[in-house]
C-alpha cells in the first residue's frame, strides 16, 4: 500500500504541471496588454504597460513565458486581487478556512445520510423508505440552491430568529479579533473550542447550520441515487446469490459483500463532491453571506479580476488533484484488486 501511495504522490507534481500549463495556455487567449493588467494596479501605471510586458516577457514564446510564470508562482507571487483588496495569496489564506470548515461540517453528514439511505433504499426496493429517499433525491436535484437557501433563511432566521446569516455575531467577532484569542487551526469552531470559548463555538456552529443544511439537501441527492443503483446492481450478482444459497445471513451479505463492491463508484463521487464543496459553493455562500472562497471567486470572475480568477482556479485545480489521489488510495483500500493490478 505504501508503494502505491508513493507512486501516486510522485505523479502529483506532473498532474499539477499539466493543469497549470493548461490554465496558462487558456490565458494566452488574452492579449499581452490584457495580461499585463495583472501587474498594473493603478491606472497611472498604464503608461508603463510596455515596460510591464517586457518585464514579464509577455511577448516571448509560450514555453518561456510559462517558465517565468511558474517561477513566480513558486515564490508565492499570485498577484493582487482588486476584488478582495489584498494579494491573492492572502485572499486564499483569508477565504479558504471558512469554506474548508463548512465543507467539513457538511461532507460527513452527506456521506452518512447518502450511503445509509441509499443502501436502505436498495435493500427495501419499492417499499416506503425507497419511495421516500427517491422523493428526497428528486427534490434535491430539482430545487435550486438559492430557493432552498432563502426558504430556510425565511423560516429559521426570519421567523424563528435562530440561525443568522454571516460568519458570527458581533460578540464572537470581537472575541476572535482580540489579542487573547489564538488562531490554532484557522477553523473557527475548533479554535473557539481550543480557546475554551464555548458560547463562541456554538455561535459559529449556529451560523453554519443553514448553509450546511442547504448543501446537505442539494448534494445528498446524487449520492443517494448512485449508492442505490450500485447496491441494486450488486445485489443481483451471482456471488450474492451464492452467498444466500449458502445460508449466510442477509445482514452479512449486505454489509460484508455487496456494500464493499457498491462503494467503488460512491468513492469516486464522494471525492468529486468534496472538491466541489471545497472549491466554494457560490450561491450558498452568497445567500448566507458566508465569506468563503466561492463568493470571492465568483466576484473575481464577474469583475474580471484576473489574478483573483487565476488564484481561485489554481486552488480548485490543486484540490482536484489532491482529492483524486485520496480517492485512488481509497479505491485501493476498498478493492484490493486495484493494488494487485498495480
Amino acid at each position: 500500500m505504501l508503494k502505491f501511495i508513493l507512486k501516486r504522490l510522485a505523479f502529483l507534481p506532473f498532474v499539477l504541471f499539466g493543469v497549470t500549463a493548461l490554465l496558462f495556455s487558456c490565458l494566452q487567449f488574452l492579449s499581452p496588454e490584457m495580461r499585463a493588467a495583472l501587474y498594473v494596479k493603478d491606472p497611472r501605471q498604464l503608461s508603463q504597460l510596455d515596460a510591464v510586458i517586457e518585464k514579464y516577457g509577455l511577448r516571448k514564446p509560450l514555453p518561456v513565458q510559462y517558465g517565468i510564470w511558474l517561477k513566480q508562482v513558486a515564490h508565492g507571487d499570485l498577484g493582487y486581487s482588486e476584488t478582495a483588496k489584498m494579494p491573492v495569496a492572502d485572499a486564499i489564506r483569508s477565504f479558504f478556512p471558512a469554506t474548508f470548515e463548512l465543507t467539513l461540517v457538511t461532507f460527513f453528514p452527506i456521506m452518512i445520510v447518502g450511503v445509509f439511505f441509499g443502501v436502505l433504499s436498495a435493500v427495501y426496493r419499492d417499499k416506503f423508505i425507497d419511495h421516500l429517499t427517491r422523493f428526497v433525491a428528486i427534490t434535491g436535484y430539482s430545487l435550486p440552491s438559492f430557493v432552498l437557501g432563502l426558504g430556510l433563511l425565511m423560516v429559521f432566521y426570519g421567523r424563528l430568529h435562530w440561525f443568522p446569516p454571516g460568519r458570527y455575531t458581533l460578540d464572537t467577532d470581537m472575541l476572535v479579533h482580540s489579542d487573547a484569542f489564538r488562531h490554532w487551526t484557522g477553523l473557527l469552531t475548533l479554535d473557539c473550542l481550543l480557546n475554551r470559548q464555548w458560547a463562541a463555538a456554538l455561535d459559529v456552529a449556529e451560523h453554519m447550520v443553514l448553509p450546511a443544511a442547504t448543501l446537505l439537501y442539494i448534494s445528498v441527492a446524487l449520492l443517494l441515487r448512485i449508492t442505490r443503483s450500485s447496491m441494486l446492481e450488486e445485489l443481483t450478482k451471482d456471488y450474492v446469490r451464492t452467498a444466500r444459497a449458502k445460508g449466510l445471513p442477509e445482514r452479512v451479505i449486505i454489509r460484508k459483500h455487496a456494500l464493499a463492491n457498491a462503494l467503488i463508484p460512491v468513492v469516486t463521487l464522494s471525492s468529486l463532491l468534496f472538491i466541489g464543496l471545497l472549491g466554494g459553493v457560490v450561491i450558498t455562500e452568497t445567500v448566507f453571506d458566508f465569506p468563503g472562497i466561492g463568493r470571492w471567486g465568483v466576484q473575481a470572475a464577474q469583475q474580471l479580476d484576473i489574478p483573483g480568477v487565476l488564484g481561485s482556479t489554481m486552488l480548485a485545480a490543486f484540490l482536484f488533484v489532491t482529492a483524486n489521489l485520496i480517492s485512488d488510495i481509497l479505491y485501493a483500500v476498498v478493492d484490493p484488486r486495484i493494488r494487485v493490478g498495480n
Binding site: 499585463a36 432563502l150 421567523r159 435562530w162 458581533l170 467577532d173
Partner: protein, 586 residues
C-alpha cells in the same frame, strides 16, 4: 444545542407564527447598517465615494457641520465659532477667514490636537490631490486652480508657495486666505478636510508636512497610504477595524470625545449584496437600517417593527448615464473588438453627437419614473437638480422617440453605425437596482432599433467599478452625483467641467461650458448667476455629455426602535447612512 436538534425535526408546516413582530430592542448598544457596497479607502484625502465618506465623517471631525437637517445653518465642531462678516472673522474683502480652534480635543490615540494638526490636515487634503479626487474642493477656492498638476501630469511649480500662503496658523486660530471670494467655502469645510493627527501620520511614514517630500505623496496609490484602512481622528467613533473579507466596518464609541460620548457604543456597517438577506436581517432586528432602492419599496411595506420614512428630499442627480468620448481600449473587455465592425465599438464611438442623441431619444424616462420609482420623482431637466438655485424647470428635455433615435443612428459615423452595427458592455455597480434597470432599458430599446445593435449589461463591484471608470474603460457607465456641499457649482463642476469629477474620464471637454462654470462660480449676483446656469443647461442639452434621468425623492427603512435619526441630504449615503453620533435605540 436544543435549537440544533429542533431544527432537524421541526416540521415546516407547523411553525409558530412567532416572531417578526416588534419585540424588545435587540442589541441596544449596537447600531447595524447593512448596505451594498464596500468602501474604497479610509483616507480623507483619497476617498471620494459615499461608502468611504460615511465612515470617515463618523470617525473624524470637520471644522463645523450642518445643524441637524439644515443645509445652510452651521454649528461648530473643531472650530469654536463660525466665521462671518458680522463677527469679524471674515475680512471685509471676503478673502480671509480666521477660524478660532477648540482646545483640549483629543485624537483617538490620546494625543492632544494642535492648530498645526488642523493646518496639516487641510494642506494634506489639497496636496495629495489624487486624480479626480476630492482635493479640488479646496484647491479651487484656496489656490485658485482645481488641480496641482498640469495637462502633462507634471506638478505645477508654485503649488507649495501658494498653499503656504493660503493656510496658516496664528495662535489658536487657523487662517485661510482665499484666492477670491468664494461663498460655498463654509459648506465645503462642513464635510471635507477633517482633522487628522500629523504625529500619527508621520509615525506611519505618511507625508511629514515638508516641502521636500510633498510631491512624493501627490497622486499616490490608495494602498500606500497608512490611512487606507486605519485612522487617527477626533470624531465620536473610532474605527476598530475594516474587515475586507466580510466587508464589514466596526466602529467603537470614543469615550474621550470632546463632546458627550455617543449614545451608541458600537456601529457595524456591513456589505450584503443579496437584498433578501438584508431584508431578513432587518426583520430579525440584526440590522437597524438597510439600503434599499425605490424598486424594493413595495417589498418593505407593512413589516412589523419596521418604519419607512418617505418623501425625503435629496441633493443628488442619480442615476446618470455617462458616455465616454474616448474609451481606453487597452486590456478592455467592455468594447468588444474595439472597432466599428459589428463586434465592438471604436474608442471614439461616443464622440459622435448623433450616437449620443440616439441613446438620449431611446430612453424611456416616463416608464422608468412610473414603474421603477413608483412615480416618486420627475424627469430631470439638467445636471442641476430641482432643489438647487440655478435649476431651470423649463429647460427642454429628451423623451422617448424611437424614430428620432433611429434617425440619429443612421446619421452617425456617416451611416456606418446603422449599417455595421455595434457590440459593447454597459456596467453598473452591483446591487443598485435602479441603475441596473436603466442599463436594461437602454439594452432593450437600443437592441430593438436594429438587430445589429448589441449591448451586454455587467454588474461590477463598487471599488472595481471606480477603478474601471477612472481608467476610462467603460463606454457607458451609470452612476450618480450626491452633493458634496449645497451649491449648484457642486453639480456643474464635477459633471460638466473638463477638470471635474467625471469629464476627465469621459474625455469630455467643452471650453464654453468651462468658461460659464468658472464665471458662475465667482458671480455674486444671484440673478446673473441663475442666467449663467440656465445657459449652461441649454448647452448641456445640445451637447449631451450624459443623460440626466430623474429628480428623485428617497426613503429610509429602519427599525422603529432607532431614535435620533435626522435626514441631512448632504451627508454621504443619505438617507440610508447617517451621522451615528445622534442615534440611539429605544
Amino acid at each position: 444545542m436544543i435549537r440544533l436538534l429542533l431544527c432537524a425535526c421541526l416540521p415546516l408546516a407547523g411553525l409558530p407564527a412567532a416572531a417578526w413582530a416588534a419585540g424588545p430592542v435587540k442589541n441596544p448598544d449596537t447600531y447595524t447598517y447593512v448596505t451594498i457596497s464596500d468602501a474604497d479607502s479610509m483616507d480623507p484625502a483619497w476617498a471620494y465615494d459615499s461608502a468611504s465618506d460615511l465612515i470617515i465623517l463618523n470617525v473624524y471631525d470637520t471644522l463645523w457641520t450642518f445643524d441637524k437637517g439644515s443645509t445652510e445653518k452651521l454649528v461648530p465642531l473643531i472650530a469654536t465659532k463660525i466665521p462671518s462678516k458680522e463677527n469679524g472673522l471674515i475680512s471685509p474683502d471676503g478673502k480671509t477667514y480666521t477660524i478660532p480652534l477648540r482646545r483640549g480635543v483629543k485624537f483617538h490615540d490620546g494625543a492632544l490636537m494642535t492648530p498645526e494638526d488642523v493646518r496639516y490636515s487641510i494642506l494634506r487634503f489639497m496636496l495629495l490631490d489624487r486624480a479626480a479626487g476630492p482635493s479640488s474642493l479646496l484647491l479651487e477656492p484656496l489656490l485658485g486652480y482645481p488641480t496641482t498638476r498640469d495637462e502633462a501630469d507634471k506638478i505645477l511649480p508654485h503649488v507649495w508657495e501658494d498653499a503656504q500662503r493660503a493656510v496658516t496658523v496664528r495662535g489658536d486660530n487657523l487662517v485661510l486666505r482665499l484666492k477670491r471670494p468664494y461663498a460655498p467655502i463654509l459648506s465645503i469645510l462642513a464635510t471635507w478636510a477633517p482633522v487628522l493627527s500629523k504625529q500619527w501620520a508621520v509615525a506611519h511614514k505618511d507625508w511629514d508636512g515638508t516641502e521636500a517630500t510633498w510631491a512624493k505623496f501627490n497622486n499616490s496609490a490608495k494602498e500606500q497610504s497608512p490611512f487606507f484602512e486605519r485612522e487617527d481622528g477626533t470624531g465620536p467613533f473610532k474605527l476598530d477595524r475594516w474587515d475586507r473579507r466580510t466587508q464589514e466596518f466596526l466602529l467603537e464609541r470614543f469615550d474621550g470625545y470632546w463632546r458627550a460620548p455617543a449614545k451608541i457604543k458600537y456601529v457595524v456597517v456591513k456589505g450584503v449584496n443579496e437584498f433578501g438577506t438584508r431584508k431578513l436581517m432587518l426583520m430579525a432586528g440584526d440590522a437597524d437600517a438597510i439600503y434599499a432602492d425605490r424598486p424594493l419599496w413595495s417589498q418593505l411595506q407593512g413589516l412589523p417593527g419596521v418604519k419607512i420614512i418617505d418623501d425625503l428630499p435629496t441633493m443628488e442627480n442619480d442615476p446618470v448615464v455617462f458616455f465616454t468620448f474616448k474609451v481606453n481600449t487597452v486590456g478592455n473587455s467592455y468594447t468588444g473588438s474595439g472597432k466599428l465592425d459589428g463586434d465592438g465599438i471604436p474608442p471614439d464611438f461616443f464622440a459622435d453627437k448623433d450616437v449620443r442623441k440616439g441613446f438620449a431619444y431611446a430612453f424611456d424616462y416616463k416608464d422608468f419614473i412610473g414603474d421603477v420609482l413608483h412615480g416618486k420623482g420627475t424627469q430631470a431637466t439638467g445636471s442641476i437638480p430641482a432643489s438647487m438655485p440655478g435649476h431651470n424647470p423649463n429647460q427642454r428635455t429628451y423623451h422617448l422617440d424611437l424614430a428620432k433615435a433611429a434617425a440619429h443612428f443612421k446619421k452617425a459615423f456617416g451611416g456606418q453605425v446603422w449599417e455595421k452595427g455595434f457590440h459593447f458592455t454597459i456596467a453598473y455597480n452591483s446591487g443598485n437596482m435602479p441603475r441596473e434597470t436603466v442599463c436594461q432599458i437602454i439594452k432593450r430599446n437600443i437592441e430593438g432599433l436594429n438587430p445589429k445593435f448589441k449591448i451586454d449589461v455587467r454588474s461590477v463591484e463598487w471599488p472595481t467599478f471606480l477603478d474601471a471608470q477612472k481608467d476610462s474603460k467603460l463606454p457607458i457607465f451609470v452612476l450618480g452625483w450626491n452633493a458634496d456641499y449645497p451649491d449648484p457649482h457642486n453639480f456643474a463642476f464635477p459633471l460638466l467641467h473638463s477638470k471635474g469629477d467625471y469629464p476627465p474620464y469621459q474625455h469630455f471637454k467643452d471650453p464654453e461650458m468651462d468658461r460659464i462654470i468658472e464665471q458662475a462660480n465667482v458671480e455674486t449676483n444671484p440673478a446673473k448667476r441663475k442666467q449663467l446656469y440656465y445657459k449652461l443647461q441649454a448647452l448641456e442639452y445640445e451637447e449631451v455629455p450624459h443623460l440626466n434621468l430623474v429628480d428623485e425623492v428617497r426613503y429610509r427603512t429602519q427599525r422603529d426602535w432607532v431614535k435620533g435619526w435626522v435626514n441631512n441630504p448632504v451627508f454621504p449615503d443619505a438617507p440610508y447612512g447617517s451621522y451615528f453620533y445622534t442615534l440611539y435605540k429605544q
